[in-house]
Symmetry: D2
Subunit: 304 residues, 4 copies
């Protein structure tokens, strides 16, 4: 089996490596040549394609093109460029973190050219190369059959950790909600550990506690595993880490999607909103609250 | 009518003034003499009591002693000192912000001495002297009859803005929940204005908007009135105000009480928790979240 | 001054009445004739227009057409129909609850025809006819000058309760956020009263408490006024009211807008989400939680 | 090693079994005889004690008494009864779900009798017998040395899944917070799955999705494992499960403790509050909201 990967960032490059090591031939393309050269030097089953013409020409029919590009305009533009070069029956896959409604719109466009379109939501972060990727695949059965061997190689095992979850768009949708759950779980864990640490009277060792919870407790989870290991390695003071938490598209989309569906999802949403609060150096709402307290109660306003 | 006020902080002193101006005779006591002297110099119907003996001796039977002291130990100790000096049939009032369960416990103790005990939850802040205080009174009918004339003077009007809401403890209880509602309303208003301000494209004038809402809108409220006036006076940048919001006992007690009752009160509780977040300069929970993101996704940790 | 109102639902009809009574001539149009006839029979300054041709023909140049139609497709279609009949310099106003991004898109379309476009966010509900409407106006200065006399009549007073808050779109935007604040304030008040009621030991009278808070307390507000009056009129058991709370577009839009802006607005959002929970008769998420509790702890699952 | 267990409910009986199977001799006591007889019939290393005298007499000095009783009065009364029968140097352990402040108070009382006191927070539910229990132990080093062999047997493995986390009280404290985190994680997972299910267009199979997430995804967790298995076994409709979620002491205590510490823990708290909402068949707060909507906007109140 042979397929093309376009986009050799951290995710794309490691997925190419895992495919290569699993016996899948990969044609690797990227805007800049560096990551291509690096991969080709490393891996036996990877060949280089320095421009789109070369990339498409190197793929056997039906061509399988897997995009691993930043969501939004970059992915959209790549589809515009590649689609005219594909033939009916080829397969175009968006493996990035696209918003599922963008995916639905692009599917219409791609399918008008009689090209198959699939979306693969991918989780696994920096651990995917070694442990395999969690893969949530959306698309038709026919298209899925074309890509199934590669999915089984990318996944943690041939029979587990992946799923063809539904029609086009559903892969990105399931991945989006996965991240919403992730936000909520992370926030719950962080809040609990912050309470433990604030209880100075007990002088608790968070590395010890998170480590012991890894076996037998109800909160056993990969997030707990990673937290325990990081606390053991770095100590629990974390004075070198800024108290500012970034957020990405999926968390926002999940919160908004729940609102659109009229589903109450307060914990996933609040986990996002606490990240917003962490990012808000100005604290305008809080200034307003102090202003009000001063206005009705004469409470002092702490001047900066 | 004559009564004694013990505790001449901002609230106690202004309540003494309002009583005096309404024709009620007040014996004023305070730990330090300064506030006593100031009141006596100002007001015709206020006389001084520099120690507890003098204070009690100056009151006609049945004596009415109104405490306006900080909640907690200070109020508890004052009751310990005064109770032995009172006689059966006297009335002891806690007009401070005591936790209602403390009030219930103290009522048992006071009533064992055959002294009436009442609690008066008081709202109105710095505006009470001029506009009158909102008064939520707990206690027996008999005790209430003793104090009713003073209540009618302290209130915004003789017939409105006060209530004998139930037995001992209920006054502080109703005031406690009042403050919980206040927290939620304030937070809602602050959040909305923060959204308006963040919409840079419209370059909105928050003083104008809050002012126009004061008439005819659904969010008409005293908090809105004060906010509109403060924004008009100070401008909307608020760069001189620290984004740190203090909280007081009532907000915490309301949130915990709702949990004890098994009543879902997420908005009142969250308004409190956002104040906690504003006070949290360290942001330990947020550091943990960044630690986790780095551990699973390789996301950069912003070093301070 | 003469203007046309298209859409004689509760809001549109009452606004026409208030304009008429304030000396503004109104041409009234509606899809069905009934509401037109009713208004014309009642009000001296209102004339009927039974179709769009008649409606437009009855208006002097520059024509002022005020739409009071349901947000979404109905408003959009009305604009499609009316725009070709208007001339450069005319003014088209959307006084409904349109989403501000729809308003921005329509403004482009309308202004291409050299017709002015304005949006007026309107609050005041069933009380507007008597007390005046809170009006948040978006549009150009030139357009605003055309409509200002009518705004002053519709508002609670000529000088207060209205504002030209910014460019096209800002009127709907400010109204949207107004409703978000309203949701939060309502939820805070409802939670507090639910706590008071759950405290059976005090047997509190919510009509009394809400009434007393109306004067002197920090939570004084129109929502409190209405709640106090309704509780006094109906009793506090409310057994005749279903515990299901509807939501409308503005609350959802505000929550999503805050997410798009990256502004933490948890209380406004949660007030919406609690409404969703009230609407959720199935409770699927809760079934899942019971399933999990059973799976790890053997806790009984209550069978229906 | 020999120790006594008092309280043979689900947790206590299974812990006795695991100890017996691990070679620890157990004297088993319970208020009713049935569970004692059952255990003795099953397990080689368990002997019966039908009253407290027999129970204490059967234990070698220093005696180790492990209570597995319902938190609150039951545990408190058992300590009152047993303490006079113990001798200096004996060890009394509370392995139930006591509130840590009760534990601190009892520790003072027990230690006055020169008896060691320890608290062991225990997680693991119905799976503990087979997989081992997660054990969070609070107490002195001296006391811990007495019990360490039994801890190693009860835990998932001799070297993992348990910890001596700090002084008396800390074991229950860490367990309490563990449950707070558990609530938050569960709620996040339930919300996410509810969103997936509400997206009817994709017709998603929740058993498939939760199963695939178990390998490689960021939300890998024991709660996910159990959910996947339960959904596979029972189908995803869950029509046989009532949408009402019970809560227990630890979730409430964690939320209140965070408030006492001034730590913002909104997700753990909200997970609890959503359970309260699920339990609230009356929905009084929601009735109030409908009342308000009717009062200001004339919105229909759905009559039941």
């Amino acid at each position: 089996m042979k397929l093309g990967i376009y986009g050799l960032g951290r995710m794309g490059a490691n997925m190419a490596r895992r495919l290569s090591r699993g016996g899948i031939e990969v044609v690797a393309h990227n805007r800049s040549a560096g990551p291509i050269d690096e991969l080709v030097a490393e891996e036996a089953n990877i060949t280089a394609a320095y421009d789109l013409e070369q990339f498409i020409a190197a793929l056997p029919a039906p061509r399988i093109v897997w995009l691993m590009l930043p969501a939004g305009a970059v992915t959209g533009e790549a589809i515009e460029q590649i689609l005219p070069k594909l033939s009916p029956g080829d397969l175009l896959i968006d493996g990035g973190n696209s918003f599922y409604q963008d995916t639905l719109a692009r599917a219409v466009q791609v399918q008008e050219a009689e090209v198959h379109y699939m979306d693969v939501g991918t989780s696994g972060g920096v651990w995917g190369l070694k442990n395999g990727y969690s893969l949530m695949v959306g698309g038709s059965k026919e298209a899925f059959a074309l890509i199934e061997p590669a999915i089984r190689v990318l996944a943690p095992s041939a029979d587990h950790g992946w799923g063809h979850v539904g029609p086009v768009g559903s892969g990105h949708y399931v991945k989006m909600v996965h991240n919403g759950i992730e936000y909520g779980m992370m926030q719950a864990l962080a809040e609990g550990l912050a309470v433990l640490r604030a209880k100075k009277a007990f002088d608790l060792d968070l590395a010890q506690i998170t480590e012991l919870w890894r076996d037998g407790s109800v909160v056993q989870s990969w997030l707990l595993d990673l937290t325990a290991e990081a606390l053991a390695a770095q100590g629990q003071e974390l004075q070198h880490i800024a108290p500012v938490v970034a957020d990405s598209g999926e968390g926002r989309w999940t919160a908004k999607e729940a609102i659109d569906l009229g589903v109450s999802a307060p914990v996933m949403t609040l986990a996002l909103q606490m990240r917003f609060a962490s990012q808000d150096a100005e604290g305008y709402g809080n200034r307003l609250l102090s202003l009000m307290r001063n206005a009705f109660g004469g409470h002092a306003i702490t001047r900066k």
